[in-house]
Amino acid sequence: MASAEVGHRAARTFGAAPQGTARLLRVNLRRNSMPWILLLIAALFWFDSYRPSIATSPLYGMRTFWNLGQGHTIIDFGPFVAGVAAWMGSREGRRGLGDLVTTTARPRWAAQLATWAATTIWAVAAYLVFVCVMFAAYARQGVGGSPPWWWVAVGATAVAAFSAAGFALGAYWPSRFAAAVAAFGGFVAMALSSRTGFSHTSGWALILPTNSNGSFDGSVQADSGIFYPWLPDLPIVRIMFLAGIAVAALGLTGLPARAGGPWLRRAAVAVTLAGVALAGTGIELATTAKVAANGIVIPALHDAANDAPLAYRPVCGHAAGVPLCLNPAYARWMPNLTTALAPVLLEVRGLAGAPVRATQVPASYPSGNGGPPQVITLGGQPPVLRLSLGLVNLPGPCGFCSGPVVSKAFANQVRLMFAHAFAGAGSGRGTQAQQAVQAAMLRVAGLPFAAQPRLIANTEDFLASGPRPQPAPSSANGPVYAAAARLAGLSAAARHAWLASHLAALRAGRLALKDLP
């Protein structure tokens, strides 16, 4: 009989603890200041994170560069969440309820953690909802590629870390100023993160939540989420760092004598140290990061399965009879490309070295030397034109450019890069003969010589890599343009015949200007 009673009571006690915790959490969710500030955050999120992003190309890498890469979703949330969390953390102290709460059955630390959990649930849930609504809006606008979900997880963890840091400040300093100081501290922390992050592309600074310098698709014009997956390596490390900060801050709230008994306080010490260790591990791992073609790789965390390219069904069209296939994420620019390529492809149609088809290839993260690779290359047997479109600003909105990219300017750039590749100029400016042929092709395609130097200067990053001993020509004068004028002045048939007989020598760099007709 007695043992049966004991068993019954034990069962009730076992079930009562989670129920009590759930009830405590429910009460804290209901009596929480966070929902009120979320209205303000929603307005700021729209203004600062969403609105600027829709002025960029409709590709996820570009759209999310400002708000997730540069961390504006975190800046919009973090300081405000830290402020409200400080207000919640200081609640008992402000009301002078510390002694009263200490005498209750539940340890004070447990009650504080329930308050923090409720505050953080509100904040993180709102963050996820806002980001999902933003992505839904992107989806309605037909944004190409796949969303960077790992970076969303970084943002959610950052919100939790701000909440924990603010809460700890409020718990230790139950003042009316705690909230303001926590929010202010959040802004200063983000400013310091940007200060270091914007100037460091490697090393420990990669851990900083606003550092997108060379580590996020939009900053390097790559094709994450389009040709290859978003690599999770760097996001995982940042999550470790931010989670470590959150855990350490929460551990600190359990250290004072009033927080609980000796065992609980020892546990708080262990939690604090675990948090510090987690954050430190994250920093250490960040120092081992390397830039690969598809993103930042951290060897200790890297999963080779993430290197596999994404499967897709290409979207194809024709430019002057030459098949042109693109990734479906870029399908909206098919008309721009066919229009741009048609005149120059017509010029070279039928030549032995002319491309038989054109296809899009992934833009890769830069190796760090010599600038970005060429956008258009020509190679293979039969010759195939390869377009790395992720590297260039495509027609339409262009984010922080001086204005939107107009179709005509884009077409001229594409024609220049095609002529450059066709003449065999490679990754430099090419020989004088190659430059003359390039100029003649552009002239025949409708671009006057006078407009070419400026176009070359604007496009040079994608024409020539490595050091440039001489500046690009500023005017269309000199022997190169004189030879180009002669070539362009020939009839189409004569020019075609000259190219057919001299193309191999031209590409090999064996022709001089005097060899041109």
Binding site: R51, P79, F177, A180, V181, A191, F198
Partner: protein, 229 residues
Amino acid sequence: MTATGLHRQVPGSFLRGETAAVLALAGLRLTRLYLISRRIPVALALLAGIGALLWAALHWQWNIAGGPAAAHFFPLTIETGAAAVISVTTHGPFGEPERAAGRWLPWLRLGAALALTAIAFGALAAGATAGTLPGGTLALLRDLGGMTGVGLLSAVFIGGAFGWAGPMAFLLITEGALAHRSTTPWAWPTRLPHDRGGAICACLVVAAGLVLITVRGPREPGRDAGEAS
């Protein structure tokens, strides 16, 4: 015992002097209690710290690489911090009894806001001596004043305890305006220091904030706010 030599005091003169002294003492006591209830000493310490932070930011050149938004971020953030502290001091813990009994309360609110703004300006101007502040002292005065106005307005509408949220939100709006080269005078930090439009908008906001905080006072705490120490 004689009364010879005693001069009769002019009737009422002793009383008048005593009353004036009592009134002065009472006024001082009232002011002191008001300042303590609004935690002004802590606010002064924080403003001094914010001035020191600006000094450190300029001395060690905590610059962010980038455009105007990046260049202004540190100074604007620090000015926002000062405005946030001033707005939080408007929070009163007493509510209805204080309003019913204190006829000097509006003047105390006005005086405290003005004095703290002046002190914040002094602290920041002192901090700015460590380097070159974007826009100089005139822009500092305009930006700090305008942001304080935003803080006072948010204290009026959402409560003194959360008054800091207004300047912080305005900081983000201003940064967005700077990043996108918007030049609306309502985002006055985006304008040149001598720009009349920006100055007028900042003055309007600070005037509205001062008038409303004087006449209406901050919004009373909600059910969750409780006592603010």
